[in-house]
Assembly symmetry: C2
Homo-oligomer: 600 residues x 2
Amino acid sequence: MALADELARKQRSISVAEFFEKNKHLLGFDSPTRGIITTIKEAVDNALDACEEAMVLPDIYIAIKKISSDVYRIIVEDNGPGIVPDQIPFVFGKLLYGSRFHQIKQSRGQQGIGISAAVLYAQLTTGLPSTIISRTGPESRAYRFDIQINIESNEPDVLVREETEWDRTHGTRVQIEFRSTLAAKKRLLDYLKYTSVVNPHARIRVELDDESFTFERVSDEVIECPQPIQPHPHGIEIGHLKRMLAACDAPLEDFLIQGFCRVGKKTAGEMCTLSGLSPDIPARSLSSDEQKRLIDAMQNVKVPAPPTLQCLSPIGEDLITQGLEKEFQMDFVRARTRSSSVFSGHPFVVEAALGYGGKLPAEGNAQILRFANRVPLIYQQGACAITGSISQISWKNYGISQSGLPTGPVLILVHVASTNVPFTSESKDAIASIPEIEREIVLALQDLGRDLKTYLSRRDKNRIQEDRARAVCAIIPELAEKVAEIVDMPLPDISPIEGRIMKKVVAKKMIRDGKVSIEVKNYTSHPETISIYNTSQDGAGDATTPPDFVTELDNEYTKVWKVPLEPGSVWRVDYRGTGGGTLEIRGIDEKKIVVVDVDV
Amino acid sequence: MALADELARKQRSISVAEFFEKNKHLLGFDSPTRGIITTIKEAVDNALDACEEAMVLPDIYIAIKKISSDVYRIIVEDNGPGIVPDQIPFVFGKLLYGSRFHQIKQSRGQQGIGISAAVLYAQLTTGLPSTIISRTGPESRAYRFDIQINIESNEPDVLVREETEWDRTHGTRVQIEFRSTLAAKKRLLDYLKYTSVVNPHARIRVELDDESFTFERVSDEVIECPQPIQPHPHGIEIGHLKRMLAACDAPLEDFLIQGFCRVGKKTAGEMCTLSGLSPDIPARSLSSDEQKRLIDAMQNVKVPAPPTLQCLSPIGEDLITQGLEKEFQMDFVRARTRSSSVFSGHPFVVEAALGYGGKLPAEGNAQILRFANRVPLIYQQGACAITGSISQISWKNYGISQSGLPTGPVLILVHVASTNVPFTSESKDAIASIPEIEREIVLALQDLGRDLKTYLSRRDKNRIQEDRARAVCAIIPELAEKVAEIVDMPLPDISPIEGRIMKKVVAKKMIRDGKVSIEVKNYTSHPETISIYNTSQDGAGDATTPPDFVTELDNEYTKVWKVPLEPGSVWRVDYRGTGGGTLEIRGIDEKKIVVVDVDV
């Protein structure tokens, strides 16, 4: 058949650069809108990783400038350790090149594709090279490179290489121009906001055409850089083991001890015994059959889990909670950092947080914040294992309504940290559905769900008590008045009735005939000192007890009285006014106070 | 800073094979369960593509055999044109190698990754090479190769190359062994079933451990193989144009005519004029600025859409409908092939079908069948633009309930055919969210939705009419009887009343005192000849009018009477029996018939 020969002539090797040029959507360059975000994400990932390695507090500058109707210039500058001149062309001008792919530790970049993909996209859409300036220290000169990628060979084309002046003493600056739009500005700012939430040690300044934003550093503690570990003997595949053996000059025992984490002399000995191999034979001399016996033995000898503390860098419960509280007003928020776990030999940790109420929108799906290795994930929510795991949970068990995703005033944050986050594509938008990871996410969220349920049922109980108090304190006096009128008797003192029912501090605000009254009774058996905050449009200059202090904002007066209250005693203030506004009591356990606003 | 030097030492090139070994989930090898399906999918894709190119009716043999507790041997054999021996190591032992990546035409394979990924996965999980046998024709010998991939270099390692005997006169056989499970057997068979639905010219035999299945060929027509086209001048990027110019020896005008589709002498001339360039200057001599002017001109001159009929191969409305009717029992099914469209210069066609009712499950989400270039997509439904587009549509407008996806007895098929299907990852599970494609899917489904709405409203109208008829024919006689009894008068003839209301052919089935009666009255003004089908457990041997024929199946008798009915006439049969079963009238427009089963 001549056809086979004809077909053979069409067979060709495809360069990685060609492949990703044609499939640029795999790298997050499927639309001009996404291009800017993807580029900034990749550059910021690199900057944060580099600063972490150099133990430097990151100071990142981002500029996005419109050059012509559809071309934007993107600049990202960091104060990291810089890149030595000979490496620059490869780091920026060759796909699949980098320092983090071969190391087993948590890092933002892990593929060696990201930033060179932006260079590729620039030359595809504008035909322009990208400019990189880098300096490795105050005593070194800065270098400037103009770089393109040779598509057929996936090797860098260096158009300019020269020494240059630069005001930073160390760091790297990338300048890339491509066809783009700023249509997704909000998404970009969200990305930066969430990046700063989980990287509180970073300062990020942004110049966006004619606006500028700064995400300030809120912590001066350098994040400790995770340290690489060796592979774990339980997570190794035979193909990988064969290569390690072939590259090893040492005897088998040393190979096991040096090549794998958590393997000491004793464990290595057990592995040799179980596989029937001498610890002294050269590792590279093993036959195929012996290799198979070895891997079986490695997987059957008990070995502790990988030392995750060293290679992973979770955010931590406190920092997550603080970060969320800074950005969202919620009535409830809790975070959980799970202990570490392993999938296919890769250590990982899941962290999650659950927020409820406050200013979260009462309608619609829960807000979901996804993070992987401290990087916010902003696209492909539907395709992500995080979203899948959230949908799997029966949120109704925790008092939250659900239609697929939970609905209502709910915020869910999930962070997956791993030495190898399994993304669904090179654009790193979504985490692939790996059962071990999904299980950890579900467990973390169920745990938080139980906390939320406790909170909600306590809140509901409080609400019932408050309703009851309202009935007691608002309706009973009226009832008493009517009854007194009917039976033509004087109005009885109903305070003891209220007290008996309530056994709390009861604060009442009432308005009648243009007069506002606030009355606080202590029905408990303990003395209490409380602060009464009353905010309304009334200045209360004629208050029968003048406030201890008053603040005014936009015609709203907040009047504060600090009041000691003996058990059984009553405190009262009256002033002329229109009422309205709010009444709040502080300085006392919220369970012991009932606020009744008859005036609402 | 010494750190930069230290970091530089860690910088390394990453081979494509290393990259995908670590990120094997990107290729569809994230779990042992998926491995088998992915491998068979890739091998079958190649087999069908090769047969199409050779204009051969595909005869594909698949065997899956358990070798040890967790290792399976997978064999896929085809009768395609075969592969010349020198190419075999590259086709199977090098990622990113193939004949279809550089051609602009619809094909199942398009990346040059698929089958070598299976070879990679085999050597990773079992350490074993894969065996390929191929023969290019009866006068050539067959060759056998044992192949592995050198991970560090992404080049083939040939362990065995020898001539061998093989009973096929042409074709290719792949044998791959890896760690796997057959847990997803149903999904595998579904994949094969749907593959055979959209490739009716293929015969697929499967041996699955100890079971065997055959998906028979139902069409003897060879699918015409799509022909490659040149890129379209409107879809070209500057980076790509620069490379094309640099590789061209011809003058500009010839470059335009030969290098692009839909560009003739006249169009090329317009492009030259608009860009202010002479048609005679050598294409490769253009300066950067001239290149920019050229691409602007190319994009602004009017050019017809790409010749999609040539490079695309849609399934067609009839074939889709037939395929679905073969596999599903539905009351309604329609298909639509849209006219072709373009995204980023890649031509594509969307086809869709909508099925309703019948044996589709009445509860739960609609069943969704996704196809890309005649290949069923079986994973990642949630991440697919097809699913996204389906959710976007307001199905309630078409009488279908919805919660995100449409729900109820609904089946939706969507096929996207393109010269470059934008998958969300190399595993080709889901189509990326490209606005142009989503728009076409939505339009196709809305169009079908309108058809369904018409069908449903007609059905509902029929149902209302039937209800009304039931009232008239079942209740009025009883009413008449009761009234006659009360006023002590003889029973009136109510037929004229029924007739006046109905103006249809009315068929009634009744049972009383162990006697079944079927009565058909023609209230229309035309003579009709109808066939009465009555299926029940009654043999009706004593029927007052013997049936024209009777068939029996599992104790169910179908009795058929062929009856001419003059306007106003009545036909009737009685037999002893228990009743039940069904009554159906054929041979008359369904709008003109009302069946009333008083016996149900």
